[in-house]
Symmetry: C2
Subunit: 146 residues, 2 copies
DNA sequence: TGCAACTCGATTGTGCACAACTTAATTGAG
DNA sequence: CTCAATTAAGTTGTGCACAATCGAGTTGCA
């Protein structure tokens, strides 16, 4: 077999799956006025209520270059507020507005709909989840020390 | 369990894995002067030698809005040439330059290095590959008819 | 205490991804 | 044969992702 054949490369399969998921989420989230990465940010906020930009970056593995403009758009949409942490003026705290909190209810049915679109059962999805977690960890570690 | 918990969502696992792979490829491909999507295009060209923009889009599931500027950059780098198909002037054929053909040798060791960084065995990777293929197909089909 | 090192976030620049639209070439129904 | 519909690329605009860099604020240690 040819090591460079496109169809044989797992990288492409991951890439393609990621974009296919993105497309499905794009459709489902359009009604909420959110993009998929904005939805991820909202998930963290619905879980924790309030979070610093740094902790958001740790949770989502995104840096400030991605988060700063994204959070500005969420703020412009009236879903979050940003303010300096009084205890440490370097840090910016992001928290939900009432509108942002209310949006949660409308996001609630989403995971089930995506699961149905995936055509896979809960066990299979859990398995995939574990495998991908392991892959991500390995890749991240190997990237750390070249 | 809470359906909206970030850690429980497969979508995030796929997204994170895709970006982690991207990061590893970024490092490996830097020496070749390629980005990861440019590498995917080169894979197709190394396989087929010559391809229309349309067929490239079908193979990679990318539209002209993504491919046009990407191909311009590959052309500026001297790796490909683009010319109208004499048989159908709407179509643009992309083909390798000698430099582009030569680059293949330097890309050859890449899949093995990525496989090592993944920390997974061939069987496990093949399994993941199959699962992701199925997932992508289901999602694409469900996106087709909302 | 004073200043060097570090932390946090924002900004800038490049490139990918996609939607919506434009233009040019081709096809086909009447 | 003609012209409306279709097809192929390209263009424009928006948003995500990341590297590199900057400036303000904090910490630690000499």
């Amino acid at each position: 077999m040819d090591a460079l054949r496109l169809d044989d490369q797992v990288c492409f399969a991951v890439h393609a799956a990621s974009r296919a998921l993105d497309a499905v989420y794009r459709r489902e989230l359009a009604a909420l006025g959110l993009t998929y990465p904005q939805y991820l940010v909202m998930l963290v906020l619905w879980e924790r209520g309030q979070v610093s930009v740094k902790d958001l970056g740790l949770a989502l593995r995104l840096d400030s270059g991605t988060l700063s403009p994204l959070l500005k758009r969420l703020e412009a949409a009236g879903l979050v507020r940003r303010e300096r942490d009084p205890g440490d003026e370097r840090s910016v705290l992001v928290r939900l507005t009432p509108e942002g909190t209310l949006l949660r209810a409308r996001a609630e049915p989403l995971p089930r709909r995506i699961m149905e679109a995936s055509g896979m059962g809960p066990d299979e999805l859990a398995d995939l989840h574990r495998t991908l977690g392991r892959l991500t960890r390995s890749l991240t570690e190997s990237a750390g020390r070249p």
